[in-house]
């Protein structure tokens, strides 16, 4: 079904957003740790371009490949706004800004899923 692609995409986006939220949480928690450098996840567009079709296991000897979602989001040192003398590169304001972005994107994601779900249910009920 064509619409189901939307659900899988939305699910991947939600998982990417959750990973990003975790990264923000560790940045904020380590905001006063000497030598800690701020991290961020790879942008979702690059995650999306790496997605490939999953391989089918047609014989019992085949090894099941790991699921592509979640693994593609790697954490890298982000370009932070400032680095303080102790070597810590977390800027709390920047993290709050990123957290706001994540919150908005998640609300949008959930809204899209809800509206598509509603459309499907309308089609089923009539």
């Amino acid at each position: 079904v064509e619409t189901l692609a939307v659900f899988s995409l939305a699910s991947q986006k939600a998982s990417w957003l959750a990973t990003r939220e975790t990264t923000i949480a560790s940045n904020v928690a380590n905001a006063n740790t000497p030598g800690y450098s701020a991290q961020d996840v790879a942008p979702f567009s690059s995650v999306l371009s790496h997605l490939q079709l999953s391989m089918a296991t047609t014989a019992p000897d085949h090894i099941q490949p790991e699921s592509p979602s979640g693994l593609k989001t790697k954490v890298k040192p982000s370009d932070s706004w400032d680095v303080v003398y102790s070597g810590n590169s977390v800027n709390v304001e920047q993290e709050m800004l990123k957290a706001g972005e994540v919150g908005n994107a998640h609300a949008l994601d959930v809204g899209v899923v809800r509206s598509f779900h509603q459309m499907l249910m309308n089609a089923v009920k009539t």
Binding site: E21, T22, A25, S26, A29, M96, A99, R114
Partner: protein, 139 residues
């Protein structure tokens, strides 16, 4: 990651709040003992305490938690005040006062408060994201 990332965020932010509370406790000790001299003549007064954090990787879940690395002692020299009647005064009448500077402590307290609030904000946001996802089932 074994746990759901949003639940991990809650745990990480919790560890951040815990360490910032420990920091606030050290600040409280320092301020409370800002005037604590030694008991006997010429003895050392209360020495200011310092706290350092370190990043701790929880290998089971891959979470970047934070924890208290050590609570140390500030080695700046003590202030000397001339108070001949004080029980802690030496033969010249000098009393060693603690090396606590209230301005430093106030600044430290504000920064701990700010970091604590930032962690709290992350907790609120993660909870909201979880709630939004769960509310999908409700429509």
């Amino acid at each position: 990651m074994s746990l759901d990332p949003l639940v991990s965020s809650l745990r990480i932010a919790g560890s951040g709040m815990q360490t910032q509370s420990s920091r606030l406790r050290v600040v409280a000790e320092n301020i409370a003992n800002a005037q604590s001299t030694g008991a006997s003549a010429g003895s050392d007064p209360y020495a200011r305490k310092t706290i350092t954090f370190e990043s701790a990787l929880d290998r089971a879940s891959g979470e970047n938690l934070v924890q208290v690395k050590s609570v140390g002692v500030d080695t700046t020299p003590f202030r000397i005040e001339h108070m001949p009647g004080n029980p802690a005064a030496d033969e010249k009448g000098d009393v060693k006062m603690p090396n606590v500077d209230l301005l430093f402590e106030m600044e430290d307290m504000r920064e701990a408060n700010r970091s604590y609030e930032a962690n709290l904000q992350v907790v609120k946001q993660s909870r909201q994201m979880l709630t939004e996802t769960i509310d999908l089932l409700r429509s």
